[in-house]
Amino acid sequence: MAHPKDRSGLTRRQVLRGAAGSAIGLSAAGLLAGCENTTTPLGVGGGPTSAASKLVVQKPLGPGGLPLPRPDNAVTWAITPENEPIKDGKPVERGPLRAYNYANYIDPATVKKFEDQYHTSVQIATYNSADEAIAKLAAGAVAFDVIIGLAGSNIVDLIAHKLLQPLNHSYLPNLSKNIWPDLQDPFYDRGDRYTVPYTVWSDGIGWRNDKVSEDIPSMPVPWDIFWHSQQYRGLVGLLDDKRDALAMPMQRDAMRTGIRPDLNTEDKTIIDNAEHELSQLTSICNIKVTITDFQTLPEGKTVLHHSWSGDLLAGAFYYMPKGVKPSVLSYWGPKANGVVQNDFFCIGRTAKSPVLAHAFLNFFLDETNAYNNFINYNGYAPPQNGIDAEALIKRGLIPKTLTEALVRPDQFAANQELLQLSVEGERLWDDAWSRFKAG
C-alpha cells in the first residue's frame, strides 16, 4: 500500500474525492477552499533537463540542491569571493570565544588551559541535537565563533545555509602533523576546507559481561543477540537515533548474506524492512530507546545495548558505581560494513574572533590536549596518530574488554559513515522511525 505521503502528485480534486471517507479531513479541506494540497517541500523537484545529463544515472541531491557527499562522490566545497578564509598572520583577537557544543562534550580543564594560554575566556552554549543546532544557527538566533560536534551528516545543511567560513590552514599546523591522513582530506569536505576532525567512534554492541552469558563476538552475526534477548527483557537498549537504529538491522541482514550494505540507502523496501525487524524487538525484549547507555550499562540498569563506542569508554572512565570494575563492560564493533562516524570542529561564518577560533581548533588538534580531553572527560577518542589502544590498555586506562571501542584508522576506512540524505530519503527514514517509535 502506498504511503499517504506518496499522494503528492494528485490534484486537489482527486484528494478531496479520495478523502471522502474522512469526515474531518473533508471538512477541513472544504473550509480551506482555494488552498493547495501537497507534501512536496518547496524548491524540490525538477530533474535533468539537458540531453547530456540523460546519459548519466542521476544521484540524489541533498538539501538546497547540493551534492550529497559519499566515498564515491567526494565533494570539494567552493570558497566564494564573499566568504573567503581569513588572511595569514593576523593577530589573535582578545575574545571572548563563543563556542556552540553538545552538553558535556569538551573537557572544562582543557578549555581552561586554552583560556590561560590565550588570556581569553570561552563561552560555551549547548545544543541537544544537530537539528536543533542547525535550526538555531540558520534562523540567525545564535552566532558563534566555533561550532563543535556536528558531523558529515550535517555538512550539506551547514553549507546550504551558509553557516560556515572556510579555514586558513596556516593557523592549523597540528592538522597535518597529528591527524589521521584520511581525515585530512575527507570525502565530505575535500581538503578540510571548512571542517577539522574532533572525535571518531563506531556503532556496536555494549554489554555487561558479568550478566550476559553469550559470547557475542563469537556469534556468526553478533547483531543477532538483540533478537535472542528474551531473557534480558526490559534490560536491553537501542540508540535513540533513527539513522543509527535503523542501520543496525541493515548491517545484520548484510552480515547474514555477506553483502556490503548501503547504510545511506534511500530504498524504501530496505528501510521499511529495517523498521519491521526493529519492531520485532518490542515483543522480544521490550527494547528501550535511549542514549543513556554510558550510565545505564555501568549501573546495570541495562545489560545489553546498541551503543556508540565512546559511550562505553565514557562509562568506564566516569560512571562505574563504587565496587564495580570497568572490566565488566564489553564492546563489540564490526570490523567492516558497520557504522563509523566523526564529529568535527568548524568556524561560524559570522565569527567575531576568527583568528582566536583557529587557535582554538589548533589547540584541540594538539596531541596532548586532544589526549587530555579524551581521557579526562570526553570518552570519545580523537583521530590522532599518536593515540593507540594498545598503549592505553598497557597503562591500564582502558580495560581489554573495551579494546574495540577505540576506533582504528583501518576500521574507520572499512566501515561507513551515516551521511546526509536527500529530502525524500530523509523522509523515508523519518516515516519508518516514526512507525517504530509508535510501538
Binding site: T39, K288, E299, S434, K437, G439
Partner: protein, 315 residues
C-alpha cells in the same frame, strides 16, 4: 445626581475593563499569536532544507500534511495507535487520581479540623520540587534493588501487579511497563487535582449537609446526594487541570520507560518537531491534540456555566 452616579458607573466599568488589558495582551501574544503560528506551520510547507515554511495567509494554506496525518489516523496507522494509547493512559491516570485524590481532599476539607493548614502544606510540598527531579528520584527508587521496589515487593503490591499482568517480571518496574507510566502520571499530577477539589469541598455550606441529615439521610446518603453533586465543579476543574498536561506529556514515558510501547502523542510531537524532516507533521499533530483538548475544555466550561446558572436560579 443621577447623572453623576451614571458617570461614576461608566468610569468604574472602564476601570475594571482596563484591568483585564494585561491579561488580554498576555493571552494575545503568548497564546493566540503563538497558536496561529503553529496553525500556519501545520498548514504550511517546508523548504528543501526541511525547515518549516509557515503560510501566514489562510487563503494560501496547504492541507497536504493535514490530510496525510488524517489519512494515517483513519487507516489505522501509527498515529492512531499512539492517540488511542495516550487517551487510555490519561483516562486511567485521571480515574486513579480521582480515586486517590478525592478522599484526601475530602479529609482535608471536612475532617482535618485544626490540622487543615498542615494538610494543605503537605499537599503543596510536592510543588516545591521540580517535576523532573521527582521523576528522576523514582528512577532510583524503582530500580531493581531500589527502596521503592523493595517496599512494593514487601507489601505484596508487586505480586498483585504480576498476577494481573501489569508487570512482566519481579522488580521490573522500569523495564518499559505501561503500568509504571500510568502510575508515574498519577504521582506527577495528582496535586493539581487535589487542590481545586479541596477548594470546592471546603466551600460547601455545612448547613446543607446538616439539613440532609436532619431530613433522615444517612451520612453516606448525604455525601452521595449533597456533597458529591456540589463538588462536581471541583472534580471537573481538577480533571481538566490534570488532563491537559497529561495529554501533552512526553518526558514521563521517556524517563520511567523509554519503551516504544509506552510512547504517547507528546513523544511523537517531540520527535517530529525536535529533529528530522517532518516538522510540519509535528505541527499538525499539535493542532489535533489541541482540538481534542478543546473539546474537553468546552465541556468543562459548559458544565461550570450551567452549574453557575443553576446556583443563581436557586439563589
Amino acid at each position: 445626581m443621577v447623572e453623576v452616579q451614571g458617570g461614576l458607573g461608566l468610569g468604574s466599568r472602564w476601570t475594571w475593563r482596563a484591568l483585564a488589558l494585561p491579561g488580554v495582551a498576555w493571552l494575545t501574544v503568548f497564546f493566540l499569536i503563538a497558536f496561529y503560528a503553529v496553525l500556519c506551520v501545520a498548514f504550511g510547507n517546508q523548504d528543501s532544507l526541511s525547515q518549516p515554511v509557515p503560510f501566514w495567509n489562510p487563503l494560501d494554506w496547504n492541507v497536504g500534511y493535514f490530510l496525510s496525518v488524517m489519512h494515517d489516523i483513519f487507516h489505522n496507522g501509527p498515529f492512531l495507535t499512539v492517540f488511542i494509547r495516550t487517551i487510555v493512559f490519561v483516562v486511567i491516570a485521571m480515574a486513579l487520581c480521582l480515586v486517590v485524590g478525592y478522599p484526601v481532599a475530602y479529609f482535608a476539607a471536612r475532617h482535618a479540623g485544626r490540622w487543615k493548614g498542615l494538610v494543605l502544606v503537605l499537599l503543596i510540598v510536592p510543588f516545591w520540587i521540580n517535576y523532573l527531579m521527582r521523576m528522576l528520584a523514582w528512577i532510583n527508587l524503582l530500580s531493581p534493588g531500589g527502596w521503592g521496589t523493595r517496599i512494593l515487593h514487601g507489601l505484596g503490591i508487586e505480586w498483585i501487579f504480576l498476577h494481573l499482568g501489569l508487570l512482566s517480571n519481579p522488580g521490573g518496574w522500569l523495564d518499559g511497563q505501561q503500568s509504571t507510566v500510568i502510575l508515574a502520571l498519577v504521582y506527577g499530577y495528582i496535586p493539581f487535582l487535589i487542590l481545586p477539589l479541596f477548594a470546592a469541598l471546603d466551600r460547601i455550606d455545612q448547613r446543607q449537609i446538616e439539613a440532609a441529615r436532619d431530613l433522615g439521610a444517612s451520612s453516606f446518603s448525604a455525601f452521595l446526594r449533597v456533597t458529591l453533586p456540589l463538588s462536581v465543579p471541583g472534580i471537573l476543574a481538577g480533571v481538566v487541570l490534570v488532563a491537559l498536561p497529561m495529554f501533552g506529556d512526553y518526558y514521563t514515558p521517556d524517563l520511567v520507560s523509554a519503551s516504544t510501547k509506552t510512547n504517547m502523542i507528546g513523544n511523537q510531537i517531540d520527535e517530529f518537531t525536535r529533529q528530522g524532516s517532518e516538522k510540519v507533521s509535528g505541527a499538525v499533530l499539535t493542532i489535533l491534540l489541541s482540538l481534542l483538548l478543546l473539546v474537553l475544555m468546552a465541556y468543562y466550561l459548559r458544565t461550570t456555566r450551567r452549574a453557575g446558572q443553576e446556583a443563581g436560579a436557586e439563589g
